[in-house]
Amino acid sequence: MKLSLTIDGAEDHIEIVAPAPACRFCLGDGPERTAHVEAPEPGVYSILMDGRSYEARVEEARGGLVVVIDGYRFEIDVRDPRRWSRRTHGRRTDGVEDVTASMPGKVVRVLVGAGDAVEAGQGLVVVEAMKMQNEMKASRAGKVVAVPAKEGATVAAGEVLVTIE
């Protein structure tokens, strides 16, 4: 089974030759390696390779995976033809910009309305969580085409608050 990867921005691919626990795999064009893999807890992988013991903790975040091993953090996207797909956040090609919530929280102030012209850096929406207020700003000048954000509403990280074109 072959999978394409992006590891901290770098393209790569991995082939799983034999499944866990007695796993064999090739990373990129490297040689075949063996690793003994167990999942003692959900999202936790105990990996024994070359006599060493590693513990990898995997979290889904922002359309990809974050893997933490002994405090080191890797952002990895895995693209599996069968299903795995990568969500995109605020990155659009059509000259339209989605301003998204940079943290989960509550919308305390909406500073613009549809049709308003905005400057780059202008504050659009204020989100509050855990007694901290965070002002989402326009990354460029433009016209507000939609304001999904409603005052008092709870939003998740990455949720679209305002759309500018």
């Binding site: 089974m1 999978l3 990867l5 590891i7 790569d12 991995i14 799983i16 499944p19 866990a20 626990p21 796993c23 795999f25 990373l27 490297g30 390696r33 690793a35 893999v37 999942a39 807890e41 959900p42 999202g43 936790v44 992988y45 990996i47 390779m49 070359d50 060493r52 590693y54 990898a56 903790r57 995997v58 979290e59 995976l65 893997v67 933490v68 091993i69 002994d70 405090g71 080191y72 953090r73 890797f74 990895i76 895995v78 599996d80 069968r82 299903r83 795995w84 940079s102 943290m103 989960p104 929280g105 509550k106 969580a129 855990m130 007694k131 901290m132 965070n134 709870t154």
Partner: protein, 498 residues
């Protein structure tokens, strides 16, 4: 002794207070808001009362509702914890008026030490050194005059302030007026009081505070210092006892301790309290303020002195006399505490509330954990992000640092982001290990540090884990099993984790 005590608080401090009360065989009454129904302090309490919606102003800050709950449950006393109503003189007075003991100082002492400027006056009167400053708010002209007299940089501070709200550094006349405007409006928003005063700014100061304990019979001792110089946005994140500086200059402990006691006596203070000092690079110390309550960071003092501050607070509130004198206090070893927050160091330290999907706590020798989280709990977005306080004790500071790093490596919280990994970087920093601390430490640390480079073989391991995880989760779901965790894993095994 009290039969039943209400804890007018939430989170880790409510849990920590309940632990001691339970050990003292005193029944505990929790109060909770909508957001806290399943929070640990409610689950752990003997009794519980709902006091309003999630917003603190409608629940934990409502004196009337807290007292109604206290009367309804027939409690003898109320422990306020820290924050919320803990330094509210009116609340302390209302408790006494209701015939319920307030576990803390008198309302009068809180008034004398509550506002920074009033506290400054009290301290000056008691002969404690203070940083030169305008004791009260004033005009821009007065501020400029002061700044020119004592020289820039100066610091603007909210009179009613705390936690860095309404605080501004000013380096010259040019910035003074706008800084005053911003500071004062921020103070207005935060404390409903726009008053701002000016202070000479001490460069690269250390924050060192003295823990005090006094009974209602005039006996008072200090329990030594805590160094809290490691702060982010003026919020303490790492605290230690002893201070690495005081460890090198033991005479400082006595000098600061005596100054702190003098200031507290001037306010007829009793119960637990903390006097905060700034220490400049010539080891001169200046009275900063007094916290008229238990501190977040009290565990490091407990670990080193062997005392239970909450138990002593309760006994003192019950009228007991201190059973030890200053010369009986002994400090053993070294303790460090890290404040574990639900925040994302990789996203500008923004808050990270949400559901915990995994929780592995550090344990073993020398570890103390005061938390309020459990696996599956959803960290509410309405309150501050403190999840737990991880404290370690060891015979020496060097060993305590190594132990803390070991503990941080064992600590795993899934589902939300925390600052656990960030603390590890700080504790591995040579400057931190050397004890070269000051309140600007973290800003300098962030400026000088790149994210650590991972050993190359880890990338391969990470790639393998990610590939197995992704494919396991992409497998088509199977019929439900006993528990989802195992169902989930089985699904995985059925695919690649066979």
């Amino acid at each position: 002794m009290f039969r039943k005590v209400l804890i007018a608080n939430r989170g880790e401090i409510a849990v920590r207070v309940m632990r001691t009360l339970r050990e003292m065989d005193i029944r505990t009454v929790a109060v909770y808001s909508d957001a806290d129904r399943t929070s640990l302090h409610v689950r752990m309490a003997d009794e519980a009362e709902h006091v309003g919606p999630s917003a603190s102003a409608e629940s934990y800050l409502r004196i009337d509702r807290i007292l109604d709950a206290a009367r309804k449950h027939g409690v003898d006393a109320i422990h306020p914890g820290y924050g919320f109503l803990s330094e509210n003189a009116d609340f302390a007075a209302a408790c006494e008026a209701a015939g319920i003991v307030f576990i803390g100082p008198s309302a009068e002492s809180i008034r004398m030490m509550g506002s920074k400027t009033a506290a400054r006056r009290t301290a000056v009167g008691a002969g404690a050194p203070v940083v030169p400053g305008t004791d009260r708010g004033g005009t821009a002209e007065e501020a400029r005059a002061f700044a020119r007299q004592h020289g820039y940089p100066v610091l603007l501070k909210a009179v009613a302030g705390g936690g860095g709200k309404g605080m501004r550094r000013v380096d010259g006349d040019a910035d003074l007026e706008s800084a005053l405007r911003n500071a004062s409006s921020e103070a207005e928003r935060a404390f409903h009081d726009p008053e701002v005063y000016v202070e000479k700014l001490i460069e690269r100061p250390r924050h060192i505070e003295i823990q005090l304990l006094g009974d209602r019979h005039g006996n008072m001792v200090h329990l030594g210092e805590r160094e809290c110089s490691i702060q982010r946005r003026h919020q303490k994140v790492i605290e230690e006892c002893p201070s690495p500086l005081v460890a090198l200059h033991p005479e400082m402990r006595q000098a600061m301790g005596e100054a702190a006691i003098r200031a507290a006596r001037a306010a007829a203070y009793y119960n637990a309290g903390t006097v905060e000092f700034l220490v400049d690079q010539d080891r001169r110390f200046y009275f900063l303020e007094m916290n008229t309550r238990l501190q977040v960071e009290h565990p490091v003092t407990e670990l080193v002195t062997g005392l239970d501050l909450v138990k002593l607070q309760v006994e003192i509130a019950d009228g007991a006399r201190l059973l030890f004198r200053q010369e009986d206090i002994a400090w053993r070893g070294s303790a460090i505490e890290c404040r574990i927050y639900a925040e994302d160091p990789d996203n500008n330290f923004l808050p990270s509330p949400g559901k915990l999907t995994r929780l592995t706590r550090p344990s073993g020798p020398g570890i103390r954990l005061d938390g309020c989280v459990y696996d599956g709990w959803t960290v509410p977005m309405e309150y501050d992000p403190l999840l737990a306080k991880l404290a370690v004790w060891a015979a020496t500071r060097e060993e305590a640092v190594s132990r803390m790093i070991r503990a941080l490596r064992e600590y795993d919280v899934g589902g939300i982001r925390t600052n656990i990994g960030f603390f590890r970087q700080i504790l591995e920093d040579p400057e931190f290990r050397a004890g070269n601390l000051h309140t600007g430490f973290i800003d300098e640390f962030l400026a000088r540090n790149r994210t650590p480079q991972a050993p190359p073989e880890l990338a391969a391991v990470a790639a393998l884990a990610a590939a197995l995880h992704a494919s396991a989760n992409s497998a088509r779901p199977e019929p439900p099993r006993a528990t989802g965790a195992s169902r989930w894993l089985d699904t995985g095994r059925g695919d690649l984790l066979r």
